[in-house]
Symmetry: C2
Subunit: 413 residues, 2 copies
């Protein structure tokens, strides 16, 4: 085929591995004679609508160590969006516009790196492309810290978030054990619908650390009474009890626990309290004991300085493989990771039809959570462990990690 250009975009929430996949696509495209200019679409699919493309081939030439630094830079170098395309049967104007842009820029392949919502975009563009007999390859590359994409063994970004959560849990345990006064510490972890991230806190356990002592997941209905009983039991075993909880736990009726502690602020507005804060209130109401809650915040998804080398390398290889697949003519697909062995850990890259992926979500299997619903099983532990291993070399300057400049974002500056 004659030489074509490509467009890459990123979408959804940040992870510390999504730039590694971008780096993988760029590095493989540069080695491939069939591909010319590599464009990055700024702010996800919106960059195509707004003609906001940057020339990544130029960036590689201008910025020293561009690919290596990109590989370990957090969040999304190309920016993001949360934009849902209409069904093309209802409104094909945006599709016509996008494919017109593809023509204008002589595009041979479009790569979208993202989670569930982004794969919906890949699905819709693929279907429209087939309908108009386009030969442009439309390929999805997975990422999400939530690990809730189907079929793939795990999602890029999950391992690094899990590593951050586990090391934070270990450090919080060291912080908590120093006082002889009994205490409860609640650690709230991301995850509205799946408990994969919360489960990773269990990786902090070692020969001296038994925390977290209790764990609660969206997959199991939350009972306030059971929770108080669990806490009382733990207090009979140890001085300092540490609890890991998903933000998305719900009661038997499916109501978020965080919503049940909604409070009125000084202006009379209803404010949703955090799930951790809510468990803190429940304990204060039931027991006379020192209690605090800690919300692991957005650093779960952007603390690149403590990312998992396994995660970064897999994400990079997924990006490289996407170029290979596109050259082989594959389209309307998402790349996946297939685990071929647990010990030694090994994965292979494969692909599936995007119809199998989009708009489905993967929860923790119920039998990977213990019967009482307050801890994980060994199977889940063994599944997670290899994903957090290895530490990338991060360059530091003036005491801080060196990441790739993102001056092309936040344009008002």
């Amino acid at each position: 085929m004659s030489q074509k250009n490509i467009i890459i975009a990123q979408s959804g929430g940040p992870t510390v591995a999504i730039n590694a996949s971008l780096a993988g696509v760029i590095s493989a495209a540069l080695e491939n004679d069939n591909y010319g200019t590599i464009y990055g679409s700024v702010y996800g699919i919106l960059g195509i609508f707004n003609d906001n493309l940057i020339n990544l081939s130029d960036k590689v030439n201008e910025i020293p160590d561009f690919i290596q630094t990109l590989k370990t830079s957090p969040s999304m170098y190309l920016g993001s969006c949360r934009h849902k395309l209409p069904e093309y049967e209802d409104d094909d104007a945006p599709y016509a516009f996008i494919f017109n842009q593809f023509k204008k820029y002589n595009i041979g392949a479009f790569f979208y790196i993202g989670g569930n919502d982004s794969m919906d975009t890949v699905l819709k563009l693929s279907h429209y492309g087939r309908q108009i007999d386009s030969d442009i390859r439309i390929i999805g590359i997975p990422k999400t810290i939530d690990n809730d994409l189907c079929i793939t063994d795990h999602t890029p970004g999950y391992g690094s978030a899990a590593k951050y959560i586990a090391s934070s849990m270990l450090e919080i345990a060291h912080d908590t054990f120093i006082y002889s006064v009994p205490s409860i510490t609640i650690v709230e972890i991301m995850g509205r619908d799946a408990g994969w991230l919360t489960a990773s806190a269990a990786l902090a356990r070692n020969e001296y650390n038994t925390a977290p002592h209790l764990m609660y997941f969206p997959e199991v209905p939350f009972s306030k009474e059971q929770f108080i009983n669990d806490i009382k039991h733990q207090l009979s075993l140890r001085n300092n009890v540490i609890v890991a909880v998903s933000e998305g736990i719900r009661n038997e009726d499916g109501q978020y626990i965080s919503a049940s502690a909604a409070v009125n602020d000084q202006f009379g507005h209803l404010q949703l309290s955090g799930t951790g804060k809510c468990l803190e209130y429940i304990i204060k109401e039931a027991l006379n004991i020192k209690v605090r809650s800690i919300e692991l915040n957005v650093l779960q998804r952007c603390a690149a300085h403590s990312s998992s080398l396994t995660d970064i390398n897999e994400s990079f290889e997924l990006g490289r493989k996407a170029i290979q697949y596109s050259e082989e003519g594959l389209t309307k697909c998402m790349l996946i990771l297939k685990r071929t062995s647990d010990s030694p850990y090994n994965v292979e890259i494969d692909k599936v039809d995007i119809d199998q992926i989009a708009n489905n979500a993967k929860s923790i299997p119920r039998n990977w959570i213990n019967e009482a619903g307050n801890d994980i099983t060994d199977e889940l532990y063994n599944y997670m462990l290899p994903l957090i291993t290895g530490e990338p070399d991060i360059l530091y300057k003036n005491g801080l990690p060196v990441y790739l400049p993102v001056s092309h974002l936040d344009k008002l500056d």
Copy 2:
């Protein structure tokens, strides 16, 4: 002198450098023929009351790489307490008990590693010791993430906390800039009475990152009206505004801003809202814009995996010097750091009489904060920068940092 034993204890809140000072004392004591057994008092001064001492000389022999691993382990290996001794003029029983323990264990020197409250203990023990003509050396070794101890150029533990805060701010900026939708992000940082920790967020600024765009400190009375004006001005300059705020900001009347947003929970109890949450409410009330608040939690003081090598090394050397001073007969003192040069950065260790230290606190000088009270000056930036430099070698195993086991704490386990 005939060979004597020593006791070391740690007290107050955790830092990631306080174990480095403990490691320094141990390493120098081991090399010193005048000192025999090295005891650690578990849970601060309480370990002496409860006869809860561990033999650190044995630990060094039993645990491979004990001193090296201790140096970079977070929080407090010996546990902590918050225990205030009475004035000995009012009640000398606890003092008589402590000095009796010193006699029982043939103690020549007692080292207390801690912050302001711990130095009050050093002061009182020193005065009592002098009154009874004791020749036991009583020496304070500083630590606190708050950097609010007098006379010393800075406090051990501050540099590592500052490094964590600055790198988190940088990663939060990467996380925030990815959307084209205008937003405000509030980052709440520790510090009830001094803004040193919040100030360190400014170290995140570099050739592409201008965040934090606004900063608020306990040293300057907080005005809600000025805050809203500041935010509006920043929104005219950029899309995504990031604010760093000390938990301890107060209004003109000295009332904590966090207290002004106290809310009633579901049980009708008054709950203090966080300062960041409070600023979030203020913005929601005044402006129609996306806003969120992030509380940098206890990881500020326990994230040893990202500690400052400068901080760790200085803390270690302070511990070593404490042994030298005790051998020279010094007592009733606290060690300090004196900065002899900014560029290249250099410090020397010295000591001051404990009377000059205890129960005083050091705020940011007003002329190190800009006139508007919403940013720092270059002087403060240059003061902080060298303190966060350098990265210690942290050993990892199974994806997590290797820290020293603390099985001797949390005894109920």
